[in-house]
Symmetry: C2
Subunit: 131 residues, 2 copies
């Protein structure tokens, strides 16, 4: 599925939320497909079920997932996407954080570009392995 980085200061429930959105965006999870049950995913990620629940609830409210009580949780038929303005805002802030870290580490624009390229290739390659 995906991994939790305990060193990352971002809350675990947020990492799970982002991980699910990522898998859906990449096509690894298609509309209507079942996602792991809260207890299963919690055991898999070595995390408390309550933490997974929080992420699933947020994704459900956002229209990304759909719950069938007693049955399980599924990818929505038409998974909601962030609005164009929200998407830009998220991209802008994420890029700011990245560039700040890169410059602080002593890197220039060229190195930053290469790192992004490499990270993208890693992500796609990792997804290919699942299939």
């Amino acid at each position: 599925m995906f991994a939790i980085n305990t060193a990352d200061p971002a809350p675990i429930w947020k990492q799970i939320e982002e991980g699910m959105r990522r898998l859906i965006a990449l096509g690894a999870l298609k509309p209507g497909a079942a996602v792991p049950s809260m207890r299963d995913l919690a055991r898999d990620l070595r995390v408390n079920p309550n933490t997974v629940a929080r992420a699933y609830q947020r994704l459900t409210e956002a229209g990304v997932l759909a719950v069938r009580r007693g049955e399980g949780t599924f990818v929505a038929d038409q998974p909601a996407q962030p609005r164009k303005s929200e998407k830009h805002e998220m991209l802008r802030e994420a890029a700011n954080r990245f560039i700040s870290a890169a410059v602080a580490a002593g890197a220039g624009l060229d190195e930053a570009r290469e790192a992004v390229e490499a990270a993208y290739q890693r992500l796609v390659r990792e997804e290919r392995k699942r299939a």
Copy 2:
């Protein structure tokens, strides 16, 4: 100087540490120059002095800053740089977080690249304005 993002899950002391490294890397703070006193910077950033102290102490241990007790804190004569391996590691992880967020937001590689470019230009332009 720089700003603290309270929405950023990263600890404030880490944001300060990164901010100082960034200013030094960009040349905005030159070797030997005085940095703001802990109390001054704390008041400026609307933050507790203890939090600034933690960042300064880490930077001092790392050889980036130098303390003259009773006088103040200064940029080291030869500010320490991350080792090449550490630099690569930091870049790699930062890029992973960025790409993950970008894809989760629904962006592709092209949009991610543009966002990085724009963020870099903003950072440099912001520094130019100080001078």
